[in-house]
């Protein structure tokens, strides 16, 4: 019951064409989005936008300097929290975690990465904000850190797993203790992959609004104090976007452009890291 060659060939071409179309569409949508954000947001960009704090409706000028810096502060705090724990547990899972406990951790990490981001915010609120009695950058960083944690853990594990066992065996055969093999052979081999995962996780949480609503809270002023509320880009964008004023809508687009730009730069960095890995 074989179909004629021509039919099979035609079907094959058709299906291949469909996949090309899908690929084109997903790339096209992304491009469309980028072009749209740039077109809408470019008008908002000027020197003040990057260097000044927000002003209320009707006041000329003003920018989102506080939110740009705030995003770095909060994401930095998230990294401080998530990277040591995440990378550490990734190493454990890959090197020592082939047991019941490892399975449980792996399962929990997968569940954690599926928990809606708003829940992370509420968690941080209950754990930190409600106890301290005030909103803070610290609690925002913690909420984002909890979001990053499973991603960093699992990427680290995957990357270490990709290092062939022969590398470990070779190290052990040379008489190196296990920790030396890990630190000097296995982790270096996987370090670029781990870094890539880390940067992607950072870029991912940098765009989160929901976990920050009840933690970082927002602040119209410039602040570096991790115990005070702090402004962040996604939150500022959200506030401006739901306002009724054209001026604020424009600033929302500007903030969207800056945020997209930052994520774009982070992804580019990852690409460059990856390219260097290819060449070495």
């Amino acid at each position: 019951m074989e179909k004629p060659y021509a039919v099979r060939k035609a079907t094959s071409h058709l299906m291949a064409a469909l996949t090309v179309l899908s690929a084109g569409m997903s790339a096209g949508l992304l491009l469309l989005l980028l072009v749209y954000v740039v077109r809408q947001g470019a008008a908002a960009l000027n020197w003040d936008f990057f260097t000044k704090n927000p002003v209320p409706v009707g006041e000329p000028g003003g920018g989102i300097a506080n939110a740009i810096v705030g995003t770095f502060v909060v994401v930095g705090l998230a990294a401080l929290f998530a990277l040591p724990i995440g990378i550490g547990s990734g190493i454990y899972l890959s090197e020592f975690g082939r047991n019941r406990f490892g399975d449980v951790v792996r399962f929990l990490a997968d569940v954690l990465s599926g928990v809606p981001s708003i829940i992370m915010g509420i968690f941080a609120y209950v754990l930190i904000v409600a106890r301290q009695g005030h909103f803070s950058a610290l609690s925002g960083g913690f909420a984002l850190g909890v979001m990053m944690l499973p991603v960093v853990t699992r990427t680290t594990e995957e990357m270490l797993r990709m290092v062939p066992d022969s590398v470990r065996e070779a190290g052990l055969a040379l008489g190196l203790p296990r920790w030396r093999v890990l630190v000097h052979a296995v982790i270096p081999a996987a370090s670029r992959g781990i870094l890539t995962g880390v940067v992607l996780a950072l870029a991912r949480v940098a765009g989160e609004t929901a976990p920050l609503l009840f933690t970082a809270f927002g602040n119209p002023y410039f602040s570096l104090d991790i115990n005070q509320p702090i402004a962040t880009l996604p939150h500022t964008l959200f506030n401006y976007a739901i306002s009724p004023y054209d001026d604020w809508h424009l600033k929302a687009w500007g903030a969207a452009l800056v945020l997209t730009g930052l994520v774009f730069i982070a992804s580019l960095l990852v690409r460059l890291l990856g390219a260097r890995e290819m060449s070495t």
Binding site: P56, P188, A189, F217, P229
Partner: protein, 374 residues
Amino acid sequence: MMIRKRRGPVLVLVLILLLAFLSACGGAKPVSAPAQGGEASGKPITITGAGATFPYPLYSKWFYVYSTQVDPTVRFNYQSIGSGGGIRQIMAKTVDFGASDAILTEEEKAAAPDLRMFPTVAGGVVVAYNLTDAGGKPVGKGLKLTPQALAGIFLGTITRWNDPAIAQVNPDIALPDAEIAVAHRSDGSGTTFLFTSYLAQVSPEWREKVGAGKAVNWPVGIGGKGNEGVAGVLRQQPNSIGYIELAYAVQNHIPYAALQNREGNFVEPSLDSIVAASNAYAGEMPDDLGQLLVNAPGKDSYPIAGYTFILLYQDMPNCLKASKIHDFMVWALTEGDGYARELLYAPLGEQVEKKVIAKLNTLTCEGGKPLPGK
């Protein structure tokens, strides 16, 4: 050789980890120390508030002007997380003041008996629509609605635009024989509270079947989140009707209806007709200042309006902050009227303003002390 070459990246990674650990353990405390000493050393004190979305543009303007022109030693951080959120946060004492468009419910008053409401400005809820007449032309402003027709539409008993209940009072508009698409807020909101309170006042059927609240069980219609959500539904759905805040409708050029008030006049929502409603009710202002401005008497009164409130504790935990908040409030109520009008908020009438300021002057701090300098 292989191992040597790879040492660079791993050193960096280890360094990052070490740094991260160190700053995570030791970093938090030193940074927080100057924040607490900051108040004494002339750094501006920051007052944090959260709540209603509706007055956010005005509050941010007030705060900005106040701390740049009146008192540079104070800064305000107000976040518009919604009325319900504002009430919750002030009750959890995570903020210095709350803000709400809805008056406190009996349960909330029971849970926080020390919490007081201070009206700042009034706003109106408009019935907005997207309507094309029988000839295919969009209907701009000018639609008139009676309370009965409005209740009927939102109850689902009036389903077509050319229903006699609507057509009777709109002889100038060729109403289409089209189904009415109803839009409402899907989130808990002060706007919904005012709108449903009004319907519950004018329609016994509404009172019985649906009632009033920040979120209700809508008999008909599609939900949208926030003013922008409802406006979005209106834009996409031809022949639709919904309710949004006046400032939002005006800023976004969305047409809205004139409503028949208690005296039988059709009144367009405007600052003047909202002030008229607030003045008409001024004599009946209750002692807790929690008053609704729905279905107000007076021939010029617009029937769906309400105050928005700042929530403060009668006895505030910090004397310095308390006196700063007090001074700001008095300034906003007296000097801030112009900014309010500019942004389409109705300032308080004289009688109400006096009552609010008198009540502000009764505030105490740190266990019954009078505010410093008062």
